[in-house]
Amino acid sequence: MPDRIKLQVARYRPEQESAATFDEYDIPCPKDWVVLDGLNHVKDRMDGTLAFRWSCRMGVCGSCGMMVNGEPKLTCGTFLSDYGPGPVKVEPLRNFPIIRDLIVDMGDFMRKLVAIKPWIVRKVEKPLSEGEYLQTPDELEDFKQYSMCINCMLCYAACPVYGLDPHFIGPAAIALAQRYNLDSRDEGSDERNKLLSEHEGIWGCTFVGECTKVCPKHVDPAGAIQRYKLTAAVETVKAFFMPRGGA
């Protein structure tokens, strides 16, 4: 294992240049260092102007997603030693506008996330005196996988459909919509489905499947989308043959 490794980091300094370039840094490579440690070493000891996002360092906050050797990764969980002898190329997440260096503009994702109402919607809230909304372990199991999403946007960086059509709602937002649609306490599926059933919703997905492969939390957004397509198709057939809901 090498004791040093070269880190090739994408730089974009809008006040100086009109396109991204690469700066190379020769950094230590202890076996327990992740790519984020390497970037922090550069920032602290070599070049304080390098800009990137990070927070928890434990794969929970979803802030440190970047392209590592062309693959979307959480840099806090990606070991430098796995890329020996190097170099390791670090770029901002693909398919997003770049604000500076490794920082992307996540506004589009945030707007889409809010649009699918990722919270429990109730038609009428019951009074607190009636207690909590109870749920069985089986009901929890129905949506738990989708609730693991940390909004890291790796799935958007891996999705060529989103790259080609930025209007596509995208994998994480649809998986989170499913998370609430499948929650037995929720009554907001009709509101979400209006958005999901549009062309830019589930039908925009052509099932490349990369979103599921890169997801660090095994959420399986591709599965959520295909599952919802099946549900939507069955509902359409039902509505055609039973326009009054079978009554």
């Binding site: 809008p14 506008p97 770049i98 089986d138 060529p160 080609l164 499947g209 599921t212 599952r227």
Partner: protein, 137 residues
């Protein structure tokens, strides 16, 4: 004021670009594009089947002419390539089925491997029926 700040921001942000050849960047992207392309060959086999049915309806001479045309090298090659794409289409479609289908028997989820096996069993049964119709009946 806010508008000028927004405009300045937009000027400084580097917009994303997707290469025309993005589908050559990764093996999985190429497999995806080939799967999409396989629809063309599925369409061709539908047309070919309809042509066969028409030839059969028009009588023996028409059927023999169709068979002779089918044995020409270009059509034979096209059908071999189409068959390979069809198998690829079917296998990748079946592989995706367990991800899309969540089947519950009582409180338990049916494992993906069983859903996959069900699809292949259905495929085998349909193929056996066709073989029986063509050869055995």
């Amino acid at each position: 004021m806010a508008q000028s700040v927004q405009s300045e921001y937009q000027q400084r942000v580097l917009p994303p670009r997707v290469s025309t050849f993005w589908w050559l960047e990764k093996g999985s992207y190429l497999v995806f594009i080939l799967r999409e392309l396989s629809c063309v060959f599925v369409g061709w086999f539908v047309v070919y089947l309809l042509m066969l049915v028409r030839a059969v309806i028009q009588g023996d001479a028409s059927y023999q002419a169709f068979m002779a045309w089918s044995a020409t090298t270009p059509i034979l090659l096209l059908n071999i390539v189409s068959f390979l794409f069809l198998v690829f289409h079917a296998v990748t479609f079946f592989d995706a089925a367990p991800q899309a289908m969540v089947v519950k028997l009582g409180p338990n989820k049916v494992p993906g491997s069983l859903i996959l096996a069900g699809h292949y069993a259905g495929w085998a049964a349909a193929s056996a029926l066709v073989i029986w119709l063509v050869v055995g009946a």
